[in-house]
């Protein structure tokens, strides 16, 4: 180190005179450095530094605004980064909410006559500006070409939802504006949602109410509505019979079969027990079978009746289609609706979406099973991850001897948080489903083999897999929260004669609870939105049964389930027509965000209550 620099700096700081400096030097550094030559060296050095020091002093104390010194550019950078982040989030939320909320609002139907003479009718979906290719331009009439050229070679095209998939093999159609001859909005065009084939757009020709033919002129709207309501009632009854009642009978039959199989496995086919059980079950089975036939007959009668009530519809091209009234979900004259009627349709669609089951490969109908599945899985996951994570963190922080091993464990836990989620899915399938579930099947459900019970993906395994995925978040957050509990609290408790566990239970845990809850909320938010591992371990496109029903043991953790996140993927990318599914993607996304938001809000409220209880006043 050069003596100049040392002196220069110290002189800078303490504005002592040269003489004082000499005294200081000799007294401070003592005999070690007090040789005459060295001392004079230092003084010379100080003299050299003086002018510069004066110069620096002026600039340092000046009141002129110094751009760099204020750190302002960094502040702008930080603020800018935050703003960009917030804007992206807000933009995303607005996009989702806007698209999600508008999807169910009834849109007008336009009847478009093309210059080629063709006619089509459809809901206006969206429009975009495009640049027609040279081939297309060449084939246009001179006036049309001029029109396009006036717009610098651009043209507009509209996407119409034409429906009538059974007739057209397509749901949507692009129409360029230079192809259009005229556009009307006829009042008699009907938008009809069907159980199958998607919507139908066209006019009513005639109706057949059990042999009573009514033509278009004399058909009253109210009568059609009335018939539709009755048909809906019949449809619901058929569904009730086929799904619930026949389902229950099948369930009971299956249970008896399993009971018999169990006896067979235990005692053998020739044993007295087996024969006695067989005899017992025989009577029951016959009774169930006759009940089954009875219900099937009722359903068949209803279906026969359904076939007698039909409506004949015609598309704009005049092609006719005969429809059962019971297959109609909803129909309305799209261009002849008041605001209140539109609102009614809008709300009824939301209601169907939230409370019904999906139909038509998930692109129509509701998502109730998916909402239920997401909710159940998130709750189960939280129930699993909370004690597991908190106990692990408690041991790590409070009991384990803080050493190299604990550091290693901590690093491993943190690294677990960075493992790709699909890896957890593979682990869940390999370990939970095949190893654990397989063993459970061998031990407890041998009568059902080779059909797996727990030996395949299901609600329980999915929840546990996600719990494993999110446990690092909980451990880290809990450790932080435990470390933040003041030592004085623990000492006060120990000094009262409490044992370590009593201290943890009574003082440390309650006090750390808000922090632990924060970790749980983060874990829950992550788990609720996770899809990749679930695809391997229990989520299905269409679950036949909910995980909770009226049969013992009521909660069926082994069942596969539906999930909103997977539903979005499935609807958006695995369905017949991704254009038709796009609005559903937005609605489902909106719902998923809302569900996560709701669950988070609930736990944040809980956390804030705890905070109020434990964090008032100051220490």
């Amino acid at each position: 180190m050069k003596p100049e620099i040392v002196r220069g700096d110290s002189a800078d700081a303490s504005e002592t005179s040269a003489v004082e400096n000499e005294q200081l030097l000799s007294s401070e550094k003592g005999a070690r450095e007090a040789t005459a030559s060295e001392a004079s060296d230092h003084i010379r050095a100080k003299d050299e530094m003086l002018p510069e020091k004066g110069g620096r002093g002026v600039s340092r104390k000046s009141m002129v605004w110094d751009f760099k010194a204020r750190g302002e550019p960094f502040l702008w950078g930080l603020g800018g980064a935050l703003t960009i982040g917030i804007m992206m989030i807000v933009g995303f939320v607005v996009l989702i909410v806007y698209n999600g909320l508008l999807t169910f609002y009834p849109k007008p139907i336009e009847r478009v006559v093309l210059k080629s003479g063709a006619i089509l009718a459809g809901e206006t979906t969206r429009s975009e500006v495009f640049r027609p290719g040279p081939e297309t331009l060449k084939n246009l009439s001179p006036q049309d070409r001029k029109l396009v050229e006036d717009l610098n070679g651009y043209a507009t095209r509209n996407l119409y939802r034409t429906g009538n998939f059974d007739l057209y093999n397509d749901d949507f159609r692009w129409v360029s504006d230079y192809d259009v001859a005229e556009i009307h909005r006829p009042r008699d065009l009907i938008f009809l949602e069907r159980m199958e084939w998607g919507p139908f757009i066209g006019t009513i020709k005639s109706a057949d109410f059990n042999g009573k033919i009514v033509d278009k002129e004399s058909l009253k709207w109210d009568e059609l509505k009335l018939q539709h309501r009755q048909a809906e009632k019949r449809r619901k009854r058929v569904k009730e019979i086929e799904r619930d009642q026949l389902g229950a009978i099948n369930h009971l039959l299956e249970r008896d079969r399993l009971k018999l199989r169990k006896v067979e496995i235990k005692h053998g086919k020739q044993s007295a027990e087996y024969l006695r059980t067989l005899e017992d079950l025989k009577g029951k089975e016959d009774e169930l079978q006759s009940r089954h036939e009875e219900l099937s007959r009722e359903a068949a009668i209803l279906k026969e009746l359904d076939a007698k009530y039909t409506v004949t519809m015609a598309d704009v091209g005049g092609r006719e289609v005969n429809l059962r009234i019971s297959d109609m979900v909803r129909f309305y004259p799209a261009n002849d609706l008041s605001f209140v009627e539109k609102l009614g349709i809008y709300l009824s669609r939301w209601w169907e979406f939230l409370t019904d089951e999906p139909r038509e490969a998930n692109t129509e109908g509701g998502v109730m099973p998916a909402i239920f599945g997401t909710f159940c899985m998130t709750v189960l996951m939280s129930l699993a991850v909370a004690p597991f994570g908190v106990m692990a963190a408690l041991y790590l922080r409070e009991y384990a001897r803080q050493g190299r091993l604990v550091s290693l464990v901590r690093i491993c836990v943190n690294n677990l948080a960075g493992v790709p989620s699909i890896v957890y899915g593979v682990f869940g399938l390999g370990f939970f489903a095949y190893v654990l579930g397989g063993s459970i099947d061998q031990l407890f459900f041998p009568e059902r083999l080779p059909n797996p019970t727990f030996g395949t993906g299901g609600l329980l395994w999915a929840s546990l897999t996600l719990a494993l995925l999110t446990v690092p978040v909980v451990i880290v957050a809990t450790e932080e929260a435990l470390a933040a509990v003041p030592q004085s609290m623990r000492e006060a408790s120990l000094a009262c004669g409490a044992s370590k566990w009593q201290t943890i239970k009574n003082i440390v845990l309650p006090r750390a609870m808000p922090g632990i809850m924060t970790g749980l909320i983060l874990a829950m938010a992550r788990g609720a939105g996770e899809v990749a591992p679930l695809m391997l371990i229990g989520v299905v496109k269409m679950a036949p049964e909910l995980p909770i029903d009226q049969f013992f043991p009521y909660i069926h953790l082994e069942r596969s389930f539906m999930h909103l996140g997977f539903h979005i993927y499935d609807v958006g990318f695995q369905s017949r027509n991704s254009e038709a599914a796009k609005p559903m993607v937005f609605v489902t996304t909106l719902l998923l965000i809302f569900l996560v938001f709701l669950m988070n809000a609930a736990s944040i409220t809980l956390r804030n209550r705890l905070k109020r209880k434990f964090f008032t006043g100051h220490f």
């Binding site: 004085s488 000492e491 408790s493 000094a495 009262c496 009574n506 008032t616 006043g617």
Partner: protein, 270 residues
């Protein structure tokens, strides 16, 4: 009876004996934090029913000594000690001694008020709660008795279920004293109980110590020499981990036998 200077390792020792004799006696007690020695062969007695003050400059080991008495130092990793602290004929550092049981015999009040973030009543009953006492009547009696003893009853009588953290600093410290005596301890250990309080609150605590004297044996660590002079019967002066002089308070403050003590109590250092 004023005992003769007897001491060991150069300690000058001339305490006022308690009316019921000696409660605690330390013999050559030394303590290390890792490799650093904090206490050097401390030998002294704590007389039953009297107030013993520990004074000395910062870092002299008086808090360490106090925390050695109820083994709060055990929480620190790498702690070693030698010598004896004898309570009722038992060395409290003997492996057979149950630390939790020992701490139940000692109430402790800390430097900063540290009530639990619970209601006032729950704070007071905490020592009973950890003993597994659930009887509502006993708990209620204890709350009243301890709060009255801590001179806090009149102020909080009608808000026993309010959060203790809503109390003022002085009230919180008296609550901590109430909590410390709720478990009926033999000894009350106070680690600079007034250092975070204003003069009015300090005066209240000092009055309280005066009242509690006799019922409990009190050991108080203090930085404030006037306070030691006002509240204590015996005063121990410590310096750099050593007990320099231990004797009757009036003697220590007016006519100490060791020069270092004289320098300290007259304010020439420390």
């Amino acid at each position: 009876m004023a005992a003769e200077p007897r001491g060991s390792n150069g300690t000058v020792y001339h305490v006022k004996a308690g009316p019921d004799g000696t409660l605690l006696s330390m013999k050559d007690f030394s303590l290390w934090y890792g490799l650093a020695q904090a206490l050097f062969n401390v030998s002294m007695t704590v007389e039953k029913g009297l107030v013993t003050a520990l004074i000395g400059p910062s870092g002299c080991g008086k808090s360490t000594l106090l925390r050695a008495i109820n083994r709060m130092n055990d929480l620190i990793e790498g702690l070693k000690c030698s010598g004896k602290i004898v309570l009722d004929g038992t060395d409290i550092y003997d492996p057979s001694v149950d630390v939790i049981g020992l701490r139940k015999l000692m109430g402790m009040v800390f430097q900063k008020p540290n009530p639990f973030p619970m209601s006032i009543a729950e704070n007071v009953t905490y020592p009973l709660k950890v003993d597994g006492i659930r009887d509502k009547r006993i708990l209620k009696e204890t709350v009243e008795k301890a709060l009255k003893a801590a001179a806090l009853w009149d102020e909080v009588e009608d808000r026993l279920n309010e959060n203790a953290l809503s109390l003022s600093g002085g009230q919180q410290q008296r609550l901590c004293i109430a909590r410390a005596i709720a478990g009926e301890p033999e000894v009350l250990l106070m680690d600079e109980p007034c250092s975070a309080l204003d003069p009015v609150a300090t005066a209240k605590i000092e009055d309280l110590i005066d009242e509690l004297k006799g019922r409990y044996t009190i050991v108080i660590v203090t930085h404030n020499m006037q306070q030691a002079a006002r509240v204590s019967d015996n005063t121990a002066f410590m310096y750099l981990g050593r007990l320099i002089e231990y004797g009757e308070t009036s003697v220590i403050f007016t006519n100490p036998k060791v020069d270092k003590t004289m320098e300290y109590v007259t304010g020439r250092f420390g």
